[in-house]
Amino acid sequence: MIPTEKDIIARCQQGDTAAFRYVVEQYQTMLLTLGLKMLGDEEEAKDIVQDTFLRAWEHIGQYDSRYAFSTWLYTIASRMCMTRMKRMRRIAPLPEDEQMLRRYMNEMDGQRQLENSELAAIVRVLAEGLGTKQRVVFTLSHLEGLDNQEIEERTGLDARQVKSNLYAARQIVKQRLKQLGYE
């Protein structure tokens, strides 16, 4: 019989590291994507993924199986990204990052799958000038597709903070794209 995710998590809760290995394999792409879009840096994103899994392992006893495990992991990662962002300097795009964005804008119809470094470059251009909370809500909303309610749950911000930061972030990004010649 093939074990369900619930069984695997239960085994993790009993200290089974082999079961946890399956969890890591299963969710690493989701978390790396989030980290990359949040932080605009591949190495930082990989660090966050590793730290998230370690944190999850340490606290897996507190996981409530009534909720999706992916949501629980995603919440840990989102908050760790927020903490990391506060420590990091503001994102400063490299000169070539803008060229990357222009190339992507020109070929967007092709839906090309970006390399990690390319995705990070575009994120850096878009995130320039955004504060930590603005970056978090903007990323979760526009780059990850979460609704406001989900953002509140993942970040711990209240509805007013999410709404106002999202509005401000959107205006800044709009202005930034306008400066680059995209109306």
């Binding site: 792409t29 590793q50 392992w57 507190q62 409530d64 839906q111």
Partner: protein, 155 residues
């Protein structure tokens, strides 16, 4: 849909690439084992066997909750320790300053009324010497008492 929305929509579909998932998983597991070793072997999972405390009840789906609680408690403890240290420093500093003042006052006054035996004429009668000694001793005691009052008032 304007260009910005098109761009954001397109980026939303972008996924990170992990070239070697196996190697990436190995790194995570290595760190996990290393951490286990550091903390003394099979101590995980820490909370599964322990019943949840009342404070944990609302945090079962929020792993950061207990971590944040711990961080908050650590911050509060650090703040209290800092306040105690600063208080202790101020108290000791004040006391040491007070002690130094008292010592200087003592020296100045006690020395002033100390009986210098060399100054007592050797050719006087022993009775006269004893009377002068008693007078000096009385004055010294008076100042000594005054010093005690002074130190109590200024403590």
């Amino acid at each position: 849909m304007n260009r910005m929305d098109t761009l954001l929509d397109s980026l939303q579909r972008q996924q990170a690439q992990i070239e070697d998932k196996e190697a990436f998983t190995d790194r995570v597991m290595e760190r996990l084992y290393a951490q286990k070793q550091e903390r003394g072997g099979d101590t995980y999972p820490a909370t599964i066997v322990a019943p949840l405390s009342k404070g944990d009840a609302g945090a079962t789906n929020n792993p950061q909750f207990s971590i944040l609680n711990f961080q908050f408690a650590a911050r509060v403890a650090a703040s209290i320790a800092l306040v105690v240290l600063v208080g202790l420093f101020i108290m000791l500093h004040t006391q040491s300053v007070g002690s130094a003042e008292l010592l200087a006052y003592n020296r100045q006054n006690i020395d002033k009324y100390r009986i210098d035996l060399s100054q007592i004429p050797t050719d006087g009668t022993s009775r006269d010497m004893y009377r002068r000694y008693l007078e000096a001793k009385r004055e010294q005691t008076f100042y000594h008492n005054e010093l005690i009052n002074y130190s109590h008032e200024n403590r």
